[in-house]
Amino acid sequence: MAEKATAKPAKESPKESEQVSSVHIFPEWCKGCGICVAFCPKQVLEMGDDQKAHVAHPEKCIRCYLCARRCPDFAITVADEEGNIVREEGDHQ
């Protein structure tokens, strides 16, 4: 496939409801497969009209990382308490 636009996606939709949440969904990469929504242990996520996943109940998120790791398209990131992206066993580089 053609070397098209860079992997840096253009724009991100407004997300007041996701402000406090540690789960961030990136609509440009989400293909609406529904896996994250179906298997989130706390039903934090829901499918929107635009066939994309949305954070519906951020307060319920227990940061288990399952949605991020089961997302086939790298469209979900989960931040820790301070809000930055950290691996479980400490940062490498």
Partner: protein, 236 residues
């Protein structure tokens, strides 16, 4: 009409191939020579996919379209890429569910194909047949029987009614557009006209009859709050 070039373009999984086959089958029923080619990449979903159809009274030599009588563009990329290979008096139909900036041209029609399909038939996949209906009405290629016959021959049994309904919805819309353009019907034509009730009811009855009533997993979605509405509101 003794020679016409039609291009149905969109992304993988939007049914351009099936729509193309129905188009070609209709042409054959009316005795035309037909040649249909496809061009696509590795992606079975997403990615660019287009189907070219040429029908003619004479032998068709070169199989690819070069200046189009009809262009269907289901997304912005296809619309941008192919709109300038449409003839002067060619027709362009774009799915304004995804196409924000429609192309220039004197016969450009915007219609929320996928959205209408979702609202009427609960799935997006009938958009291609709605589009065929509109194109069939606007171009007056082939008789209605040839189209519906082709749909029956091409579409698997379990999707036949859905596709026939979608085609009829599109055909009705196309006739509506035609009447307005030819000034035959004085009524103010409002692009956001609701889907004709009779089609919706018949579809609902059949859904209840088949025991599929109630929302499927996809439809218990969150009501969009106003802040999330897309910048450009609905049809022009």
């Amino acid at each position: 009409m003794d020679y016409a070039e039609i291009r149905l373009s969109g992304s993988g999984g939007q049914g351009m191939g099936l729509a193309g086959r129905i188009f070609s089958e209709s042409a054959i029923t009316e005795g035309y020579n037909v040649c249909q080619t496809q061009s696509y990449g590795p992606e079975a979903r997403g990615g660019a996919s287009r189907t070219d159809i040429i029908f003619s009274c004479h032998q068709i030599l070169f199989p690819n379209c070069r200046n189009l009588d009809v262009l269907l563009a289901m997304n912005q990329e296809s619309s941008d890429k192919f709109s300038d290979s449409v003839r002067e008096d060619g027709l362009i139909l774009v799915d304004s569910t995804y196409v924000d900036q429609p192309p220039e041209g004197n016969r450009v029609y915007e219609y929320k194909l996928t959205q209408t399909s979702m609202e009427t038939f609960k799935i997006p996949l009938a958009a291609n047949l709605i589009a065929l209906g509109i194109i069939a009405a606007l171009t007056r290629y082939f008789s209605l029987e040839s189209w519906t016959d082709a749909i029956r021959r091409t579409v698997p049994e379990r999707f036949r009614d859905l596709n026939l309904d979608a085609f009829e919805l599109g055909h009705r819309e196309g006739r509506e557009i035609l009447h307005v353009e030819e000034g035959r019907v004085p009524v103010a034509y409002d692009r956001k006209r609701p889907v004709p009730e009779c089609i919706k009811e018949r579809f609902e009855d059949r859904r209840r009859a088949s025991g599929k009533g109630g929302g499927s997993r996809k439809s218990n979605k969150r009501k969009k709050d106003s802040s999330k509405k897309k910048k450009k509101s609905g049809g022009k």
